[in-house]
Symmetry: C2
Subunit: 185 residues, 2 copies
């Protein structure tokens, strides 16, 4: 059993943006007894959703992303707001806002830590089959998003070829479709 | 085609830790012409590796993670250091340091953006079959890691049940094993 480093003193917020905050916590090495600062990125929890139409197409979004400064092909998702009744309600809200499609039957497929080494938050992933377009997307001032329909059957190949390059989107598809069983050694 | 927000002025480093830095960049909305600050977490690129023994067991690591403050079951990996000749060399180094196992034949299975919305870096994923234990692990002062062997055949189920909860580890297995093809609609 790996030993944990015990915290010493308070967890302090040392930097703050609209989207995330940085916290600092001193911890004590169980081996040496020395203190060491650990830094954590705190965010709201996130949600994402694999929305599939009755025709077997995934409702996806193309947008420019400013972390990598590249256009990506993703599924709808975003921050779970304090006003959302649940992660599932947040996923329904994000889907209709970003794409104009509505999900009636959602199932939660998994919960993942985006990076447990340096981020405290989690992402809740959902699958919705039989989604339908009910209105136009409703974008925030900061959002420029194109909606594209991608056959679900193409997803494993698009991930393997790197055309879907956002880790949390790959995880949502891994939960929705499952991984292949490995061959016997 | 979604329009990008053009940068205005310099990209500035506004906070710095040993592991990551925060950068601020003002960008202009193509819709309104207004400026808006974007914040990005800059890290070194990361690598991880699915190391499989001749008996079909994955060499995994248990450790306490301080972002989520929980023990995790992961594959070996870490930062690509300036001294590493390549992402593959970094993966070989991390494997032997954390586990004492050595990989001879590595293949790069994919490259993922951990979070293209707010992180600039990438993770390079590798698969190595036929890894062998050649020495004891060599841990940094800050590392408390237990090595565990998990049959590769158990991995899809452990991911589905949430026993493997680190997004970048799930992605590495998704690349190594592939996703199941979806049923026809």
């Amino acid at each position: 059993m790996p030993r944990a480093w015990e915290p010493r003193g308070e967890r302090q917020r040392v930097y703050e943006t609209r989207i995330f905050q940085i916290a600092r916590q001193q911890r004590i090495s169980p081996r040496t007894g020395n203190g060491h600062d650990f830094f954590v990125v705190d965010c709201a929890d996130w949600c994402n959703i694999v929305p599939v139409t009755a025709a077997g197409e995934v409702v996806m979004v193309r947008q420019h992303r400013y972390g990598t400064d590249e256009e990506t092909l993703e599924i709808p998702g975003g921050m779970i707001d304090p006003g959302d009744a649940s992660p599932m309600a947040a996923a329904q809200r994000e889907l209709i806002e970003e794409t104009g499609y509505q999900a009636r039957d959602l199932v939660q497929t998994g919960v993942i830590a985006p990076n447990p080494a340096m981020q405290s938050n989690r992402t809740f992933s959902f699958l919705a089959r039989g989604v339908e377009k009910v209105r136009a997307p409703e974008l925030d001032a900061g959002e420029e998003i194109d909606v594209v329909l991608v056959p679900l059957a193409e997803i494993p190949g698009r991930i393997a070829r790197g055309e879907i390059s956002h880790a949390l989107v790959v995880v949502a598809f891994a939960y929705a479709l499952g991984l292949q069983a490995p061959p016997a050694p």
